[in-house]
């Protein structure tokens, strides 16, 4: 049985001129959407286009302000998550909603536990769970605690849970954002399987390649409105992007400035020899801005990491999720303590016991999770920009220098083109891209020598991405050493002067210039040809 569109033209779910407002903004306006039974509908759009809001409304998390939702051509009111579930709509959040202290089975039946004589019927839970888990191809014991599973498997549990309540519409919000390639592929298979069973899937993703392979139909949103629909052959990267941004864009960012000097000697190294730190003592004329020798990151105690970054160089760090890249940056920044090894900054050996030490020696880190680690999200742009440089610029050691604070903030807003009504705007109300720029502004106010970026463009829209790339170039041209971790292959290829590839805590190789290609990176990242 293939896609059932043709046989059954009646839509399962229909949304008519839906609208929603939030303080200060119109999130959705006159949205129309149809979903056929057994169809995979991809929903794409830049950040802030209103995709998540629309899905939250369908799942009963938020009420709409206007418009109609029809299921089986009958208007329905979805006032709560329970309502949505009764109607067969289930949302799988970007951040999973599992109680990770409970077992897999307990999670699947959370809130509707089968009982026997008033007590929870454990046997039935185990039995039934096994069946549901099998339908998503997951072979785990229902009594396993959820926190012992990988993120990918937890996601499968969520899907199994949705199937167990006979969901007819499954909404997946960025399901692959924290999955490895292999986990993602397993997920795609499950999605195909769901389609066979007549379950409709609304699939939200920033990863357009996934959408191309997975979707029967693509609905594009822009600024809270419908921005077109693509079916069958029309579904391709360029078509989606041009509708998302409302104009034609080139396929990917291309660097215009390349000033980075690569360390001498390593430039000739054939790809993937693993001898990264070779000959740094004599061969280089300039001192590396950052030199890491035999660093042992606590999360991967078996491996030693060595590399260097020259001033003005952009070094990309590629690898699969879980390759230990974030852990390495955290260790470099003093968040965790290395078990061994040496770090030199501008040739001087430094001890980094805390982020404070790292900052004092000229480093800045744009962390992976900007909401938790990068920003105090309920504070103003001004407070966030000044947070790291506050004590340096304080008068008499402790008095806040309000004038410098204002100047730095204005400077950041101008230089990074942060779109904010005022410097006192609460950062929470900015879009993702602008939030990320505030994090960058915080470090620029410090005048760092070395910038560590961890997934700097995750979850931000294409326009803001380009601005961040341009900024990276400019900063490198000014002599900053930039080390950036990214899971987006195109980004690494386009931006790096040199690319380090990591696999399970180890640097499996480095690529320079033209060697930097998708295939080479994948080989090293999967540990295939590292030796």
């Amino acid at each position: 049985m293939s896609v059932t569109q043709g046989k059954n033209p009646r839509p399962l779910l229909e949304v008519r001129s839906l609208g929603k407002r939030f303080p200060g903004v119109r999130a959705l306006h006159n949205i129309n959407l149809t979903l056929m039974p057994g169809e995979v509908l991809a929903l794409v759009g830049e950040n802030g286009a209103g995709k998540s809001t629309l899905m939250k409304i369908l799942a009963g998390v938020q009420p709409p302000d206007e418009g109609q939702i029809l299921i089986d051509q009958t208007p329905v009111a979805i006032d709560s998550v329970a309502d949505a579930m009764r109607l067969g709509i289930t949302l799988i959040h970007q951040e999973l909603n599992l109680a990770d202290n409970l077992s897999v089975g307990a999670n699947i039946f959370l809130g509707r536990e089968p009982t026997r004589f008033g007590l929870i019927d454990r046997e039935k839970i185990v039995h039934e769970s096994r069946r549901h888990l099998a339908s998503v191809g997951l072979k785990v014991d229902p009594l396993t605690l959820v926190r012992e599973l990988t993120i990918g498997r937890q996601q499968m549990v969520e899907i199994a849970k949705a199937l167990s309540i006979d969901a007819r519409v499954l909404i997946m919000d960025e399901p692959t954002s924290s999955l490895s390639q292999r986990e993602a592929e397993a997920l795609f298979e499950v999605v195909h399987g769901l389609r066979e069973h007549g379950v409709s899937v609304i699939y939200i993703s920033h990863r357009l390649a996934e959408v191309e392979t997975l979707a029967d139909r693509v609905a594009v949103m822009r600024d809270g409105e419908n921005a077109g629909e693509l079916v069958g052959d029309q579904i391709n990267h360029d078509a989606m992007v041009s509708r998302m941004v409302g104009r034609d864009v080139s396929r990917f960012y291309e660097r215009t400035i390349r000033t980075g000097q690569t360390p001498q000697g390593t430039g000739q190294t054939p790809q993937g020899t693993g001898q990264v730190a070779e000959g740094t003592e004599q061969a280089t004329e300039a001192t590396p801005a950052l030199e890491v020798i035999d660093l042992v990151v606590p999360d991967h105690p078996k491996h030693k990491v060595s590399f260097e970054v020259m001033p003005g160089e952009i070094v990309g760090v590629a690898g699969l999720v879980g390759a230990g890249r974030t852990e390495m940056l955290r260790c470099l920044f003093g968040v965790t303590q290395p078990l061994g090894g040496t770090v030199r900054i501008n040739g001087r050996r430094v001890q980094l016991r805390s982020p404070k030490d790292a900052i004092a020696s000229g480093m800045g880190l744009v962390p992976e999770d900007r909401k938790e680690q990068g920003l105090v999200i309920d504070f103003s742009v001004r407070t966030n920009v000044s947070l790291a440089s506050l004590s340096d610029k304080a008068r008499g050691g402790c008095w806040i220098n309000f004038a410098a604070e204002s100047d730095d903030t204005t400077d950041s807003i101008d230089r990074l083109r942060i779109k904010t009504p005022t410097a006192d705007q609460v950062v929470r109300y900015l879009s993702g891209g602008n939030q990320q720029k505030v994090v960058l502004g915080k470090w620029l106010a410090m005048n760092p020598k070395i910038l560590l970026l961890d997934e700097p463009t995750r979850g931000i829209d294409i326009g803001a991405k380009e601005e961040i790339y341009r900024l990276m170039e400019t900063l490198a041209a000014q002599g900053l050493a930039i080390l950036f971790v990214s899971s987006e292959m195109e980004e690494v290829i386009a931006m790096s002067d040199r690319t380090l590839v990591m696999h399970e805590g180890e640097i499996t190789g480095q690529l320079v210039g033209d060697e930097i290609g998708e295939e080479q990176i994948m080989n090293l990242a999967t540990g295939v040809t590292s030796r």
């Binding site: 004092a360 008095w399 009504p421 602008n434």
Partner: protein, 558 residues
Amino acid sequence: MNKILGIFGLLIFVCLFTTVLNDSFVGQYNLYNTTRWSALFGILSIGVAFVIITGGIDLSIGSVVGLVACLLPMLVVGNGYSPTSAVIIVLLISAAIGLLHGLLITRLDLQPFVVTLCGLLFYRGFARWLTDDDTLGFGQDHDGLRLLAIGKPCSWATMLLGGGVCLFLYGLWKLRRLRSEADSDDSHHDAKKISAWSIPLIGVLLAVAGASRFFLGWDSGPGTSLIEVGGYRIRSLGIEVSDAGAAMPSTVMKYVGTFLFVPTLVVFLRWAWQSDSRRIKKPSALVLVSLVLLALCVWQLVPLYRSAGGDDRWQVGAIIVSGEMLKNTLMMIVFVVVGGVIGSVGWLISAAGTASKKSKALTPALVATGVMALLGQTQLAATMVPMPMLIMIALAVVAAIFLNRTVYGRYLLALGRNEEAARYSGINTKRMIVVAYVLCSLAAGLGGILFALDVNSVQPSGFGNFYELYAIAAAVLGGCSLRGGEGNILGVVIGAAVMRVLYNAINILGISTKLEFAIIGMVILAGAIVDVVVKRIVAKRAVLAAEGVDTEPPVGAD
């Protein structure tokens, strides 16, 4: 700012309500006591505010107060330590307690609730064991030390004079800053000018009112002892004025305040009306209605309330009402009406503030003149200032400067809201948290000293019980969020005053003291509910205001 206005409105509401029903509330004796107790609790609240700002909690305050209050007389009376060294020792002990709490919380990652709960139990038990549950006190000796708590350094009129001069100087400084940036073309320059000019003017008014105490002539008397440290006595200047002179500041405030309040109000409303009449139509109508109601109440019901004795019987239609019931009923009516007036005036002020920037800039002047007019009706200016009040004001000023002007204060706020981001920004978060707990326990220690000196009869088993809850309630009323990262000192001080005034009102109105906790709980709950409701209304209004405006970046989506 709005939060402070809100809690200040609540303070005025409780004061007005109590005064309307029993005017001995604003008599000198009661004012002196209420301000003294407010100050003592204010000291504890300022301390706990720092801990709450970091997102923590300190439940041990009451027990620290009890322990310190036992240790001080033990050291001074029992072991013959000099008062100065005894005070230093107990302060060091309380700092050590805070340090211990902070280290346990940051180094061992224990939860603040658990650590300080154990503290609450331990210090109480330790104090009882140490003293063998004997009541302690300083007896008739050590008056020099006791002056710290019971000294009366000056009258409130003198405080007005001093405060007025300070405000005036601060205002001048702000004016100079405004001049220096005047050339930049700024659309809100008018509003800035208004707020910059109003501050020194308010200062002058307060200073004049305070100084009017001396208008009818003064004599120099012997003065009284203020404090005694190591044999040195500091004495007050001993300026004495006649009773008529002492009453002058109130008279000046009453007339000047009232005469300035009315035109200020007119201008305030005019500006708001001109820029957006739609916004203030409803609240001003409500203010009018509630004022008429209030006049009716004062004219008809208040005399009835005062004349009704508990045993009287009143025939209302077919029902016979006892004096007690009548009193309660009347009180409730007055309660609702006064609440309506305060609420609608508050609504009007905030609506006008959003309608016009110029009106908003005038708010401090409006509030100041209004408060002056009200204060003029009381005997506050002739009342003496309790020493703890001076200590509390000094502490509050230092705390406010620390919190708002130093990097450490900023660090506390930032780490309270997001500790991880603060750490990633190079802040030594653990050390700052320890600092917060040390400050809190130090304040509790200082409070304990003053409480012990004030009461002079310390029962180890019960002294300071529940004080931590009063302090926490005051901090929360004053705008500190238990989630951390939010709070301001002025609000906390006003919050402490509200708690005390409520307690005082219960006593003075003859409400059963058994209801004390119930009433305080209700008022705090009401405050929290109003806070949430107002926030929702503001958010809703923002949605309506944003309708059709597409310039702002998307919010909340994705």
